[in-house]
Amino acid sequence: MQLMGRQSWLFDRRPVILATGTVVGPFEGQGPLAADFDHVHDELSIGQDSWEKAERALFEEAAQLAAKKAGIAMDQVRFLVGGDLMNQIISSTFAARTLAVPFIGVFGACSTSMLSLATAAMLVDAGGAPYAMAVTCSHNATAEKQFRYPTEYGSQKPPTAQFTVTGAGAALLGRSGSGPVITAATIGKIVDFGVKDPFNMGAAMAPAAVDTILAHMNDLNRSPDDYDLIVTGDLSKVGHRLALELFAREGFPIDKTVYSDCGMMIYDYEKQNVQAGASGCACSAVVTYGHLLNRMKKGELKRILVVATGALLSTISYQQGESIPCIAHAVAIESGVN
């Protein structure tokens, strides 16, 4: 691998995404991408007796599915890179306990999918592991309980609010094999433009997404038309619109490619009451590993840039009147045979 520019890597060994595992909850199963997920649960409790246990069950299931689909035993996976939204990332740690794989825990809030994927790609490309897995998860009820209000609390969500996805996405990477390949990644800096409203994450995260995308293009000397699709993780309606504004002001020709957002893709705005759209670590994970890679396998997409975005606040920082620092990590994925 090579360091490119200030904050990007070029993976010349081109680690392969051998298989992915995507599982979601019932609400996501009612959305337009349901057919692209490996398993849709019909109960939010995932058959567990607490929301927290449900979330880790999703993580475990996604990881096990990815290994199974690749025909690899879990103990051949050398390293598991994972994280989630819970305090002390307990969903990932408790799941990793079950999976019994050496574990690198990362916290990127909703940017964890690409943060973990970039880290796992770096491991494989640098020769540090023949197989590495990147997994992340989120659950609507655990997120509401931790960050906002108890789930049965009657609050009226504003139209900028987003709905946390219940699900988990896992990607198993290897040195060779057939499947989409990871060619580059850009690690984001923390960007904070002073937005304080946790019910308007899209606005908080948009500058971070734009910052990382610009850095990526600069570091790798690329431009938007090098990609068939640039997709952000969960800016949703409000953030997506702001990102477009920011691109316009920077003179960045985003219109040379298709620019989309996972948070706007996973739910049906007409039928599902999700205000601005989706959020949560699982949002970018399941949409990328399920839907986008499927499209790539069908030949509809050849080269995509997935930019997962995260809001790095805690309940205490918010109550203390702090603003919301955000981050975005980008991974370039190409269809190709290694």
Partner: protein, 116 residues
Amino acid sequence: MDLVRAFLVGGTICLVGQLLMDVFKMTAPYAMTALVVSGAVLDGLGWYDPLIEFAGAGATVPITSFGNALFHGALQELERYGWIGIITGMFEVTSAGISAAIIFSFLAALVFRPKG
């Protein structure tokens, strides 16, 4: 007639709460606190009791009555015992509501599971 007045007054107080949230951009906890405080102030001015006479449940059901009750309790004890009554009196009048909420919530936790 009682019902109409309860509807109008209660609805108006809720309307004020909604405006505090939408127009003044207060979050729910802040808006509700503001209403509790105004209940106390209105009672201090002697206006809340007449409102209760007029609108019945329209004035006792909204959370403003909580502030009113707190002040009422303080006032009762103030009149009886002097300044120390302010402290001892406050929870006299609201204890039914709070106890009911605590007990019923506890029982609910025994019986119900969160649905998400």
